[in-house]
């Protein structure tokens, strides 16, 4: 299964959420890999706690260089053994699958999706598909050549059949309309996808939205120390946003997860382990959201309602 994470705007928590979902999915027993296609700012190394790759790899063998034919194979990192924070400080948990990061290049920048680049991308995905049950691809924010490349490869290469798109957005008026634009509007995912050979409806069925940094007035009241007036105001706004989301096509049925605000994620983008929850640094609801999303990636019920 190929899981592609994208967003229209930066700052949605797309990368940190996707890394955490990949981590959860590995703990659930799947062999998982994570491709950092955020060619503008490859940050997955930092989130996974691989210090030597805080801004992508320096070994000149990252995904950019691979796609441009400058290295025979892309470099990779085994997270269980190389992360400097938990989980990397211990052996792979019993029953967990592999968790492997394919980093981007330090200072890689964007690139053009020439035919040979598309070929190499297809080759890479086919190889990874034989090794991993879930392949996460983190795209950069906005419309990118990387997104075009993935749309092209998935349209042409029938053997990469199980593809799912996650569109991340914060729970604000601007973010909702930006996410809707990214999917439904001109030069959006659906239009480009159709152009590259996807069936529009079929592609639509493969897209779900992830709401991030959502404040739940009920639950977060104590945490945030909300006054009753503030809580009432929040409810009001929340209702408005729900109406806007429904109209924009981002209503409940097309949402696969809602990730709450978490102080840990606000201050430092990192993996949240169960230990962080036990130590009461991180919220259990955050971990629950990650784990549920991880499990729902191929849960028919989560994908059948459109």
């Amino acid at each position: 299964m190929l899981v592609i994470a994208t967003s229209d705007k930066g700052g949605t928590g797309r990368s940190v959420t996707t890394c955490n979902v990949a981590y959860r999915r590995a703990i659930q027993g799947d062999d998982v890999c994570y491709l950092d296609f955020d060619f503008g700012s490859p940050t997955a190394g930092a989130i996974f706690g691989v210090e030597r790759m805080t801004h992508g790899t320096q070994a000149e063998d990252g995904l950019h260089r691979y796609l441009q034919g400058k290295t025979v194979t892309p470099g990779y990192v085994d997270i269980w053994s190389e992360s400097r924070r938990p989980p990397g400080t211990g052996p792979r948990p019993t029953g967990a699958g592999n968790l492997v990061l394919y980093p981007g290049d330090l200072g890689g920048g964007e690139f053009t999706a020439k035919p040979e680049v598309i070929e190499r991308c297809a080759e890479l995905l086919l190889l990874l598909q034989s090794q991993f049950s879930v392949i996460f691809i983190d795209l950069s924010a906005g419309r990118s050549h990387a997104a075009e490349m993935i749309l092209t490869v998935t349209a042409r290469e029938k053997r990469i059949s199980d593809t799912r798109w996650l569109v991340f957005h914060r729970w604000t008026r601007q973010h909702i309309s930006a996410a809707a634009d990214l999917v439904f509007e001109e030069r959006g995912l659906l239009e480009f996808g159709h152009l590259f050979g996807h069936d529009r409806d079929e592609l639509r069925r493969r897209i779900r939205f992830v709401r991030t940094a959502v404040i739940d007035p009920k639950i977060d009241q104590g945490l945030l120390g909300l006054r009753p007036e503030q809580e009432a105001w929040l409810r009001q706004v929340d209702k408005g946003l729900n109406e806007q989301a429904n109209i924009a096509g981002l209503g409940r049925t097309s949402v696969i997860a809602t990730v709450p605000v978490d102080p840990v994620l606000q201050w430092r983008e990192q993996l949240i382990t169960d230990e962080d929850v036990y130590a009461e640094i991180a919220n259990e609801t955050t971990v629950d959201a990650f784990a549920t999303l991880a499990a729902n990636l191929d849960e028919p019920a989560a994908w059948s309602r459109l």
Partner: protein
């Protein structure tokens, strides 16, 4: 197929990748031969017994770089390494990139065709300490590899997985097994030879052998066979771990163990492609690493588990029937 003959002052090194083809069933021999056509026009060798096995012709790549070293010495070498792919049981793919380092008779690089006349050989210019090179390549965790053969072995798997012969619907996802090896020939003076096996934290296996054996390609077969069985054991154990037998989640158990029974268990066939004279080495490795013992335990565990679950199903069905009565 020509292969380097081991002699003193030489060191053979290589990397192996083991994995599963992205295909729903075993490839037939005819398909296998088409798949392994790495060099156009050259022949794929194959055997049907004791099990389906095929070897591709070797593809060469040229290098001019420093030789492996543990201490960081800089000795330049020029020549080629060879890459071959094998398919076992129409399903398990192995690629191996390897070369033999030999002293050069000149102190400078020669015309390129000179190196192509002896494929799979790298001539080193200067004084190479073979122990230092062997350790750097296949023993030390932070040795200087300097030669990136593993990448070519891996990209050969990339190429194979892209073949139009494959449908991409593999019943199992299996991580690549990674092995790096160094073989030093030694004089036959009664020494038992050297044998070192190291597992790196991320799972790569390193093996160093110093043995009395003239033919490098026989040793290559031996190491490939070890790598295949080690990978098989590792993967099957992981699947059982994931299946969580006894958790009561029968569906989960079946989902992970079913394909293993259907597609993998019968490929365990130690020494099937090893020269009889090297059985001793295989057995020594097996004694230390306990491959066979672990495999037997694993298989018994699977069988017991399957038997137990069948029994449970029978009992449940019976009680349902009696409930009806």
């Amino acid at each position: 197929m020509s292969s380097a003959t081991a002699s003193e002052g030489t060191l053979s090194i290589g990397e192996i990748r083991t994995g599963l083809l992205g295909h729903s069933s075993q490839l037939s021999m005819a398909e296998t031969v088409r798949l392994l056509d790495l060099v156009p026009g050259e022949q794929v060798r194959h055997a049907a017994y004791p099990r389906a096995y095929a070897v591709s012709p070797q593809r060469l790549a040229g290098i001019d770089c420093f030789m492996p070293s543990r201490s960081g010495r800089h000795v330049r070498g020029v020549g080629t390494f060879a890459t071959r792919a094998t398919l076992t049981g129409g399903l398990i793919v192995q690629t191996c990139s390897h070369t033999t380092l030999v002293p050069s008779s000149r102190q400078y690089r020669r015309e390129w065709s000179h190196y192509l006349a002896t494929p799979g050989v790298v001539e080193y210019l200067g004084r190479l300490r073979l122990d230092d090179a062997a350790e750097g390549f296949a023993q030390a965790e932070n040795g200087h590899l300097n030669i990136e053969m593993g990448r070519t072995a891996e990209s050969t798997v990339f190429n194979l997985q892209r073949s139009r012969l494959l449908d991409g619907k593999q019943p199992l996802h299996a991580p690549l097994g990674r092995w790096r090896w160094a073989l030093q020939p030694v004089r036959d003076n009664g020494d038992p030879g050297l044998y070192r096996f190291t597992v790196l934290p991320e799972g790569t296996r390193l093996i160093r052998l110093a043995v009395v054996w003239p033919d490098v390609s026989d040793l290559l077969d031996l190491v490939e066979d070890l790598a295949l069985h080690d990978w098989l054991l590792d993967f099957v154990s992981r699947q059982i771990e994931r299946a969580r037998p006894g958790s009561g989640d029968l569906d989960r158990t079946l989902q992970h163990i079913g394909p293993v029974i259907d597609h993998l268990l019968h490929h365990w066939m130690p020494k099937a492609r090893v020269q009889p004279g090297l059985y001793g080495l295989w057995d020594a490795f097996d004694r230390f690493q306990g491959l066979t013992r672990q495999w037997d335990l694993t298989i018994n565990r699977i069988r017991d588990h399957v038997a137990l679950n069948s029994l449970r199903l029978v009992l449940r069905t019976e009680s349902e029937w009696s409930g009806l009565g």
